[in-house]
């Protein structure tokens, strides 16, 4: 755990106690069982917004607290522990970043205060196929109208406005498109991890350009990747701790199974990977806060490392729990499903290893 300022410690402690009281994994289970339309509990999201979490990175003049990405990462980590579903990552982090970095004063004024108080949800619509290939954009803009299809748009059903990648005259740009535009059609996706997502078709929808082109897209994605990595860190830590408890309580052959060295060393391996992952995630968030020149590679490192670790821990969670881990009544399956969805979002491990190697010149 990084050395925190007093404000950051308070923010983390507030998130920790809210999550334990108001949003344990049973809350996620309830949300899933109810088939919630948006993929999250609206009342819980409102509480989070009231505590100011949706505005952590938003400048004070637009109603936020301007605490930075490392601070928002602390909240996401705590939410990740209990798989709390909310638009915080899509809207309070990715959407807010697009507007902070690429919005005009008017665009900021129109959306940032609403993002910060949770009254509007902004969603990032960039992917067009089964894999994250942000540089491959077929959606186009002509005469201020955007057309194309975007898939796996996180919080796509809840969105009031989309940040959409499209080309105009062959050049990649980001655009704001309102969800209630007559040219927007969205289809709810039912995903294994029960989170909210949609496929969205744009058919001549009115589009407002943000400033920054492909470089802006890159920066916004890197912020989303780092934030998602923080959420994954929390989920992986919780999955590991639940598993470790099980190793200390499950008895077979007259002893707790955690006394077997074959399992002990696998547990030590997971702990090692979690420590390395925490370093990578915190370094990526700090790099964003400091606008460091090597931010892109540090973010790819964090997302790839965290993806590998969450993959490992979620598999071991099921395996070490044995039969009970295969049942829907146990939480292990939730972590396993969330792991794969989070790994795939904004570039999986292969994507980020390739990107890291390219940046290193090989």
């Amino acid at each position: 755990m990084a050395v925190l300022t007093e404000e950051q410690s308070m923010l983390r402690d507030a998130a920790k106690s809210w999550v334990q009281e108001k949003s344990p994994v049973t809350a996620f289970r309830k949300m899933r069982d109810s088939g919630a339309e948006l993929g999250y509990d609206v009342a819980a999201w409102n509480e989070m917004a009231e505590m100011g979490w949706a505005g952590v990175i938003v400048p004070e003049e637009y109603g936020g607290s301007d605490f930075g990405y490392l601070s928002l990462g602390l909240v996401l980590e705590e939410l990740g522990r209990t798989l709390t579903a909310s638009p915080l990552l899509a809207s309070g982090l990715a959407g807010a970043s697009a507007l902070i970095l690429g919005g005009s004063d008017e665009q900021k004024q129109a959306w940032l205060p609403k993002i910060a108080d949770g009254s509007a949800v902004v969603a990032l619509a960039v992917d067009e196929g089964p894999h994250h290939r942000p540089e491959k954009v077929e959606a186009t803009v002509s005469g201020g109208k955007l057309s194309g299809k975007k898939v796996f748009v996180l919080e796509g059903m809840a969105a009031d406005v989309f940040v959409v990648s499209a080309t105009e005259g062959g050049k990649v740009e980001l655009y704001l498109v309102k969800a209630d535009d007559a040219g927007v059609t969205r289809t709810k996706l039912s995903l294994a991890d029960s989170r909210g997502a949609a496929n969205v078709v744009f058919n001549g929808a009115a589009a407002e350009k943000l400033t920054g082109g492909a470089a802006l897209l890159d920066k916004v994605l890197d912020r989303a990747r780092a934030g998602l990595s923080a959420e994954m860190l929390g989920a992986a830590l919780q999955a590991f701790e639940i598993t470790l408890d099980y190793l200390k309580t499950r008895v077979q052959f007259g002893q707790v199974i955690g006394s077997f060295q074959a399992l002990q060393h696998r547990a030590a391996k997971m702990f090692t990977e979690l420590e390395l992952s925490r370093s990578a995630v915190e370094a990526a968030l700090s790099a964003i806060d400091n606008d460091a020149p090597d931010t892109a590679e540090l973010v790819s490192l964090a997302k790839a490392k965290m993806g590998d670790t969450f993959h490992l821990v979620s598999n071991e969670m099921v395996q070490m729990h044995g039969g009970i881990g295969m049942t829907d009544a146990h939480d292990a399956g939730f972590y396993l499903k969330r792991a794969r969805a989070a790994e795939a979002a904004f570039g999986n491990q292969a994507f980020h290893r390739d990107r890291y190697a390219k940046i290193q010149g090989y």
């Binding site: 002990q264 390395l276 490392k305 390219k358 290193q360």
Partner: protein, 402 residues
């Protein structure tokens, strides 16, 4: 980070800079530290001796150790300034070895005042080389099974038995040694004694390794003598001290995780030279590329963790739990790099000696072989995993690994 600034430190920095300029012999600038050499056949030069004595007299080779025992008596911030200024001048710290890395810190914690007065100042002056008598042929990972015996002979202990992997025993003046003083108990029958290596009952034989010559030795004791005053801690209370010393050793060994030891070129550069890039600018061997970048990223995360552990140790109240994973994580990554260096060089990475191979190529082979020791010495990978399982994760201890 309050202790990095301030006018007092600026004044101190100026003093140190002037002192280094006045005392560091120009002939040694940029030269390797003779402490680091494995082969010590030649006598140190007059300039090397002068520099060792100058730093030793200031206590700046052991900057944070207490002044009363010959250390520098400096704060952490001041010590970093001394290290920084020595590096800035192209100089090196001539005071090192096991006395500085492991034994000194342990004796400062557990020794009597008389023991510290006798043994610490020569370490600070770089006059005495120490070796570590821990592992035995029958006591490796299970170190507490050691059987080298020390018998009470009234005014002294008589020592019989043998040690193995005693690094630098052939150059050492003194040995800090674990001996059995009670055969009826395991951990509680071990004592920690000191004795001179320059006595008739001590015989040292260097061990050639798979990589060639090495600093490791077998050491035999036949009625060797340790004085009663050189028992550290209580009789049969040596295991606690040994565990503390091993912590110092392991924290030193993880620092070795940064280098490759194959001639200095990073393997990413070697890969570009030997394997080449394709038209898209990617390494032509895509299988190697994936493994190489995975290792490079893990290495970066390892370095980030080293930094994080240091910052946390300074900023948070409790020590960082990250420290416990460092030896296994670092040594495994460095071994992977050695393996890849060989693979990248192909047939040229298999040379043993001769003009058909470059210095880099020959060093890669020796480095690969010697690197196999990293996951064995200082507590094997398996023992480290036992320690994490027990101490950090709180899982049951069935092996008594300490």
């Amino acid at each position: 980070m309050a202790d990095f600034g301030g006018t007092d430190l600026d004044t101190f920095r100026k003093e140190v800079r002037e002192w280094v300029e006045a005392n560091f012999p120009a002939s040694l600038k940029g030269k390797p530290n003779p402490m680091a050499r494995e082969e010590r056949g030649s006598e140190p030069s007059a300039d090397q001796e002068a520099w060792r004595k100058a730093v030793g007299a200031k206590g700046w080779g052991t900057p944070t150790w207490p002044k009363e025992y010959g250390g520098g008596g400096l704060s952490g911030a001041e010590a970093r300034i001394v290290q920084g200024e020595i590096a800035r001048a192209g100089a090196y710290n001539p005071i090192g070895g096991m006395g500085v890395m492991m034994f000194g810190p342990t004796l400062l914690e557990y020794g009597t005042d008389a023991q510290k007065q006798e043994h610490i100042p020569p370490i600070c002056r770089g006059e005495i080389a120490w070796c570590q008598g821990f592992s035995e042929p029958g006591a490796g990972s299970d170190l507490a099974a050691l059987s080298t015996k020390a018998e009470d002979k009234g005014d002294h202990f008589e020592i019989n038995g043998s040690k193995i992997w005693t690094s630098g025993a052939q150059w050492a003046d003194w040995c800090f040694c674990l001996v059995r003083t009670d055969t009826s108990k395991k951990h509680e029958g071990i004592s920690f004694v000191l004795f001179t290596m320059h006595q008739p009952g001590v015989e040292v034989r260097p061990i050639p390794l798979i990589a060639g010559s090495s600093p490791f030795c077998e050491t035999f004791f036949t009625n060797a003598r340790a004085e009663k005053k050189d028992l550290v801690g209580p009789l049969n209370g040596g295991w606690t001290i040994a565990k503390r010393l091993l912590q110092h050793e392991r924290s030193g060994l993880t620092g070795a995780g940064g280098g490759l030891g194959s001639g200095g070129k990073p393997i990413e550069v070697l890969a570009k030279e030997y394997v080449g890039l394709d038209d898209a600018g990617r390494l032509a061997d895509s299988d190697l590329r994936t493994r190489l970048v995975t290792n490079a990223m893990n290495m970066r995360a390892f370095q980030q963790t080293a930094v994080r552990a240091m910052v946390e140790a300074k900023g948070n109240a409790s020590p960082s739990s990250a420290t416990s994973i460092m030896k296994n994580a670092g040594t495994q990554l460095i071994q992977e790099r050695h393996e890849m260096a060989l693979e990248i060089m192909g047939h040229q990475g298999l040379g043993w000696d001769g003009d058909d191979f470059s210095a880099d190529e020959l060093a890669a082979v020796r480095g690969w072989l010697f690197g196999k020791a990293f996951t064995i010495f200082g507590g094997s990978q398996e023992v480290q995993s036992n320690i994490v399982s027990k101490r950090i994760l709180g899982l049951p201890d069935l092996t008594q690994a300490k």
